[in-house]
C-alpha cells in the first residue's frame, strides 16, 4: 500500500519543497506580526514606545500596563480598568450561549424527528434570520427592550444575542440531527421514552461535536459583538468590547499605547481560550456503533 501511495503522490524535488516552506513561513510571519507587536509593546514602559522602535523587544520588562488595563485605567469617566466590563461580558455571554444552544438543539430535534406541516418553510424562515444585518433590527429591538423593561441591562443584551443566535444554532443542530438515525427515535418510543426523555437521554448525549461547534461559534460572535453592546447597554452594563473602545478613546493627557495593547489582548483572550479548550473535544465518531458500521 505504501508503495502505491508514493507512486501516485505528486513528486516534489528538494528545491521546490524548500521554496514552498519558505513562502509558508513568510505568510505565517506576516500574520503573526500584529500579535507580536501587541504582545511586545504591552510588556514595555510607555517611553520605549514613544521613543520609537515599535518592533523592538522590551528592554525593561514590565507587567504594569496589564495591571493598569485590568484594574485602574480610565474608561470613559471612571478609573475602573476593564475588570467590571469583563464580568459584564461574561454575564451576557454565558447565559446567551447556553440558552441559544439548547433552543437550537430543541428546534433541530423537532424539525427533523417530529415533522409537521410546513416545517421546511419554518426552517427556511429561521435560516433567513441568519442573514438579517444587525443594523436593521437596532431600532425595533430597542423599542422591544424598552417595552420589556430590559433596556440598558445585561439581561436585555443576552436576550438580543439569544434571539439573533437561534437561527444559526438551529441550522447546525437541524443538519446534524437530519442524519441521526430515525430508528433510534422509534426504538426509544417503543421503549416508552417521552418527547423530552428522548431528547435528553438519546439525542443530546450524541450531540457533542455539534454542541462544541455551536458553543464556539456563539461564544466568539457574542463576545466580539460591538454594535449591540454599544446600542443597547448603558454605562453599567457595557460589555468588554465597548469598554475597550472607551479605554482607547478616553483622552486624558497622553495616549498609553502599552495599556491599550494589553487591554486589547485581554479582550481577545477568552475567545482564544474557548477555542483551545473546546476545540479538543471537536472530535468525530461519537455515533460509532449505534447502527450498522
Amino acid at each position: 500500500m505504501a508503495q502505491a501511495t508514493q507512486d501516485t503522490a505528486i513528486r516534489t524535488g528538494r528545491i521546490t519543497r524548500t521554496l514552498i516552506y519558505l513562502v509558508l513561513l513568510l505568510f505565517s510571519l506576516f500574520y503573526l506580526l500584529p500579535l507580536y507587536v501587541m504582545l511586545a509593546n504591552s510588556l514595555k514602559p510607555l517611553e520605549e514606545i514613544t521613543g520609537g522602535g515599535m518592533m523592538n523587544l522590551p528592554q525593561v520588562f514590565t507587567v504594569e500596563p496589564w495591571i493598569k488595563a485590568w484594574s485602574s485605567a480610565q474608561i470613559g469617566v471612571e478609573p475602573t480598568g476593564l475588570r467590571p466590563y469583563f464580568w459584564n461580558s461574561i454575564k451576557m455571554v454565558v447565559p446567551a450561549v447556553i440558552v441559544s444552544t439548547v433552543l437550537g438543539a430543541l428546534n433541530g430535534y423537532v424539525l427533523t424527528k417530529w415533522r409537521f406541516k410546513y416545517d421546511t418553510i419554518l426552517f427556511g424562515l429561521m435560516l433567513f434570520a441568519c442573514f438579517i444585518p444587525f443594523q436593521i433590527v437596532l431600532i425595533p429591538m430597542a423599542r422591544m427592550l424598552g417595552l420589556m423593561g430590559l433596556a440598558g441591562t445585561t439581561w436585555g443584551l443576552a436576550l438580543v444575542h439569544v434571539v439573533y443566535g437561534i437561527g444559526f444554532t438551529t441550522l447546525y443542530f437541524r443538519n446534524y440531527y437530519a442524519v441521526f438515525p430515525t430508528e433510534l427515535i422509534r426504538a426509544a418510543q417503543i421503549d416508552g421514552a417521552g418527547f423530552f426523555q428522548i431528547f435528553w437521554r438519546i439525542l443530546l448525549p450524541s450531540s457533542g461535536p455539534i454542541a462544541v461547534v455551536s458553543i464556539i461559534w456563539q461564544f466568539t460572535n457574542i463576545w466580539n459583538d460591538f454594535l449591540f453592546g454599544a446600542s443597547f447597554a448603558d454605562a453599567n452594563s457595557q460589555p468588554m468590547t465597548v469598554a475597550l473602545n472607551n479605554l482607547v478613546q478616553s483622552s486624558t493627557g497622553v495616549k498609553e499605547y502599552n495599556v491599550h495593547f494589553a487591554g486589547a489582548i485581554l479582550a481577545a483572550l477568552p475567545t482564544l481560550l474557548v477555542y483551545i479548550v473546546a476545540g479538543r473535544y471537536f472530535v468525530r465518531g461519537l455515533m460509532a456503533g449505534s447502527v450498522k458500521g
Binding site: 438515525p181 433510534l184 422509534r186 416508552g192 438519546i202 456503533g289 449505534s290 447502527v291 450498522k292
Partner: protein, 370 residues
C-alpha cells in the same frame, strides 16, 4: 379472534393507497413472516402494528384490544430493527434495561431481568461495553435482548438479519428459530429473503404492491402458489413458468410443451379436471427440483413423465447440478443430483414429476384450482 388481528387495515399517504385492506389473524405462539420485494408494504404493515405509523382505516387488535391510536410503548410489543438501533451513548446493560426504566420498573428488578436475558443470549460478558465496541452479531444479540427483556405479547422483527454477512445470517436464523421454539412467543417478522421466510415461519404472508398475495404455511405457499408472482418469488432457483397447451389424450389432460427443436412433448397432468381447459393455452409451473434424470426422480410420485430435450448449459454447484434447456420457448432450469451424468449439447431423457406441476391462467396469472 386471534392473538393479533389485522382487520381490513389500509394505509394511504395522501391519495396514494400503499396498503390495501390487509386481513391477517395471528394465533398465539405463531411465527408469521411478511415477505415480499422492497416497496411491497411489508415494513409499513409492521410499523402499523408497532404504532409507529397510523392506520388509515381498519383495525389492529392485540389480545382483542383495539390498538388504533394507542402509543407504541403501551401496546406491549417489542421491536428489533434492521439497523439494531442501539443507543450509542449507553452500555449494553443500559440499552437492555432502558425500556424497563421508562416503564418505572425498580432498579433491582431491572438488573435481575437484564442478567436473565444476557444469560439466555450469552452476552453476559458484554454488558459493560458500548455498542460501538461490538461486532455485528453481538449487536444483533443485544437488540434481541432489548426486545426480550420486556416480555412483550408480540415481537416485531424488521429485517433483522439483512445487515449480517452470509454465514452469520444462517447462524442467527437458526438461533431465532430456537428462541421461538423455547419461548413460544408470538412473532411477526419482515424479510425480503424467501429462504428466511421458508425456514423460520409457521405461516407466511407473501406481499406485493400493497396486497397480500397469499397467506399460508410454507408448504402451502411452495407447493400450491396462488399466482405466478408467489410461484416465482418463493423458491430458489425460481419456479419455471412456461407456455403450454392443454390436450386431452386417452381421456387424460396433458400439457403439450414445445421442445428445443420445435417438436412437442406431452406431459400428463395429475389433476383430471384440467380437462375443462382442453385446447386452451396455459402457463405451466414446474419447480427445478421436479425435473431430474430418471434415477433421481421421486419414487413416491405416482406421475413421472418423460421427455427428451437438449441440454444447453450445466452448472455444477457442489450438492446439485443445475441444467438449463429450452422448453416452451423459455429457458428452463432443472436441478439434478450432483452425480447425474449430463453434458452440454447432449439430448437427455428428463423425468418430470407432474404430481407437483401447477397450471396458471395466462390472463389472470392465478393458479387454476383443480
Amino acid at each position: 379472534m386471534g392473538f393479533l388481528d389485522i382487520d381490513n387495515a389500509t394505509k394511504s399517504y395522501g391519495s396514494v393507497e400503499v396498503l390495501h385492506k390487509v386481513d391477517i389473524s395471528v394465533e398465539e405462539g405463531e411465527f408469521l413472516v411478511l415477505v415480499g420485494p422492497s416497496g411491497c408494504g411489508k415494513s409499513t404493515l409492521l410499523n402499523m402494528i408497532a404504532g409507529l405509523e397510523e392506520i388509515t382505516s381498519g383495525e389492529v387488535r392485540i389480545k382483542d384490544k383495539v390498538m388504533n391510536g394507542v402509543h407504541p410503548s403501551n401496546r406491549n410489543i417489542a421491536m428489533v430493527f434492521q439497523s439494531y438501533a442501539l443507543y450509542p451513548n449507553m452500555t449494553v446493560g443500559q440499552n437492555i434495561t432502558f425500556g424497563l426504566e421508562m416503564h418505572g420498573v425498580p432498579k433491582a428488578d431491572r438488573d435481575k431481568a437484564m442478567i436473565e436475558v444476557a444469560r439466555l443470549l450469552q452476552i453476559e460478558q458484554l454488558l459493560d461495553r458500548k455498542p460501538g465496541q461490538l461486532s455485528g452479531g453481538q449487536r444483533q444479540r443485544v437488540a434481541m435482548g432489548r426486545a426480550l427483556v420486556r416480555e412483550p405479547d408480540v415481537f416485531l422483527f424488521d429485517e433483522p438479519l439483512s445487515n449480517l454477512d452470509a454465514k452469520l445470517r444462517v447462524d442467527m436464523r437458526t438461533e431465532i428459530k430456537k428462541l421461538h421454539q423455547n419461548l413460544g412467543t408470538t412473532i411477526v417478522y419482515v424479510t425480503h429473503d424467501q429462504i428466511e421466510a421458508m425456514t423460520l415461519s409457521s405461516r407466511i404472508a407473501v406481499m406485493n404492491g400493497g396486497y397480500v398475495q397469499q397467506l399460508g404455511t410454507p408448504q402451502d405457499i411452495y407447493d400450491t402458489p396462488a399466482n405466478i408472482f408467489v410461484a416465482t418469488f418463493m423458491g430458489s432457483p425460481a419456479m419455471n413458468v412456461l407456455p403450454a397447451r392443454v390436450e386431452v389424450l386417452n381421456g387424460r389432460p396433458h400439457a403439450e410443451v414445445v421442445l428445443h427443436d420445435g417438436s412437442t412433448a406431452h406431459l400428463p397432468f395429475s389433476q383430471d379436471n384440467l380437462a375443462t381447459w382442453a385446447g386452451r393455452d396455459i402457463l405451466l409451473g414446474v419447480r427445478p427440483e421436479t425435473i431430474t434424470d430418471m434415477d433421481g426422480a421421486d419414487r413416491k410420485s405416482s406421475n413421472i413423465a418423460n421427455m427428451t430435450n437438449r441440454i444447453v448449459v450445466t452448472e455444477p454447484a457442489g450438492s446439485d447440478t443445475f441444467v438449463s434447456m429450452q422448453l416452451g420457448g423459455r429457458d428452463v432450469i432443472a436441478r439434478m443430483r450432483s452425480d447425474a451424468e449430463v453434458a452440454a449439447g447432449q439430448d437427455f431423457n428428463f423425468a418430470v414429476n407432474m404430481e407437483k406441476a401447477v397450471a396458471f391462467d395466462p390472463e389472470s396469472e392465478m393458479r387454476i384450482v383443480p
